[in-house]
């Protein structure tokens, strides 16, 4: 719990700092490489710091995770997925998807019999995973600028704020038992390591084989994020259409 709050606190502090420093951290227009990244100069520095953290912490931890037997990896992945279920249930309710909220709650309770290490329901597609960022998107709150936070990585102002809200509203944090406190404390590190491990080659490809790994990561993040937004596809559609029309 303390570790989790520390990370969240750090994230929010940086978010505020980034906002406050926006005047001096904003890149001059001619060096901006993406309109939605007005803090690019600062973001690149944080990205470089995160890359170092990845070199010394996340990548070795992910390598260790990948050395576990398949069953061990599966258990940790299940645990990481299980701890996100309360957030799925709460946010599904906010989005009016009562069925998804009920499935999320049911799955959390059933898999809770094994502390989340086993997936007793065996259905990977349900419930639909959702979080407070999706809820804000559901209510048409804009994504805001692209921001890279220390340790946490890529996001938008909205997704980082939502991460903070998800962290403090996760019911696991309110359960007054030592077991719940321990689960909440290891939740974030386990999620980071399983994510890094389960995407090991993709992330290494980005990290080691890009012309500009910052720009490539940002592009992938924003496209992936946009895919969940209303009308996002149409923006890209315009880019393709206007290009092809100049060719004809």
């Amino acid at each position: 719990m303390r570790a989790l709050l520390k990370i969240c606190g750090l994230g929010v502090s940086v978010l505020i700092a980034v906002g406050a420093l926006s005047g001096c951290a904003t890149a001059p227009d001619d060096t901006l490489t993406e309109n939605r990244d007005p803090y690019e100069n600062t973001n690149r520095k944080v990205f470089a710091f995160n890359t170092k953290v990845d070199d010394y912490v996340y990548e070795p931890a992910a390598k260790a995770y990948l050395k576990l037997p398949d069953r061990g990896q599966m258990m940790l992945t299940n645990f990481a997925n299980w701890t996100s279920l309360p957030s799925t249930a709460v946010n599904s309710s906010f989005q009016g998807d009562v069925e998804n909220a009920a499935i999320g709650t049911f799955e959390f309770l059933i898999n809770g019999l094994t502390l989340g290490f086993a997936d007793l329901t065996g259905d990977k597609d349900t419930p639909r995973r959702t979080n407070f960022d999706d809820t804000l998107s559901f209510y048409n709150v804009g994504q805001g600028s692209y921001v890279v936070l220390p340790l946490y990585g890529s996001g938008t102002v909205r997704s980082h704020s939502a991460f903070f809200v998800d962290s403090i509203t996760n019911p696991l944090n309110f359960a007054a038992t030592p077991a719940a406190a321990n689960i909440a404390a290891v939740n974030t590190p386990v999620r980071i390591v399983t994510f890094r491990g389960n995407n090991f080659e993709y992330i290494n490809e980005l990290k080691y084989n890009s012309l500009d790994s910052y720009a490539r990561t940002r592009s992938i993040y924003l496209q992936y994020d946009d895919a969940n937004e209303i009308d996002a596809d149409e923006n890209y559609e315009d880019e393709f259409n206007s290009f092809i029309e100049t060719q004809e």
Binding site: T31, A215, S219
Partner: protein, 217 residues
């Protein structure tokens, strides 16, 4: 009265013939080529799998990769898209050098990944017309080893009446390979104060690294 009726019938027949001709012409101009597009992707996947199953990783695979990409894509169109306005402002020499290094990187990337293609399976999902320019063919890529989860793949195909179809872009899980490459290239050029030569030099280095990596394996 009969004469009047006859005139009406003739007029009606003319309208119907005109409508039918119009429909045929319009139908010809905007013929549904979604099946043709889906078939093209299936043929491409089959060709890739044949090569992956039979050829060792050597210089031959470079030629085969280049041949496949050349037949299904248009290098120059891809190259010009990936540097946006800098293509229009580039000199002929810069365009040729960029095209050459861009092509070398694309081919080396494909050639380096043939080993990986061996374990992949492609499953067609749908093919649909999008606007007047495109056909989108959707499918699932399944890794037979179970190491990677299934991924949604979409092929964006340029559909121009009277011309061959060609692949313009490929997206995995809604992430466009072409847009990603464009964003990265543009960032490199802008970081170097608009100098396209900086990107060309980086691409040349990258293709050489990839070539060495392919020959090492």
């Amino acid at each position: 009265m009969h004469r009047h009726l006859h005139k009406c019938r003739v007029a009606l027949m003319r309208i119907l013939v005109a409508l039918a001709l119009g429909f045929m012409l319009t139908g010809g101009a905007y013929a549904d080529r979604t099946d043709e597009a889906a078939k093209m992707i299936e043929t491409l996947v089959a060709e890739i799998q044949d090569i992956a199953a039979t050829v060792a990783i050597d210089d031959n695979i470079y030629k085969q990769s280049d041949d496949i990409i050349d037949r299904y894509f248009k290098y120059e169109t891809l190259a010009s898209f990936t540097i946006g306005p800098y293509w229009r402002n580039a000199s002929d020499d810069q365009r040729q050098r960029y095209l050459k290094t861009f092509r070398a990187v694309v081919v080396e990337l494909a050639a380096n990944n043939f080993e990986y293609f061996r374990s992949l399976e492609y499953m067609f999902q749908s093919s649909e017309k999008k606007g007047k320019n495109w056909i989108i063919v959707n499918g699932i890529v399944h890794d037979k080893t179970g190491k990677y989860p299934d991924a949604m793949v979409s092929w964006r195909i340029k559909d121009t009446p009277g011309q061959d179809l060609y692949i313009f872009d490929l997206s995995f899980e809604n992430v466009s390979m072409l847009l990603t490459q464009k964003d990265e290239n543009m960032a490199v050029i802008r970081k170097n104060k608009g100098d396209l030569n900086a990107l060309i030099d980086l691409l040349a280095t990258r293709s050489e690294e990839l070539r060495k990596s392919r020959l090492r394996n």
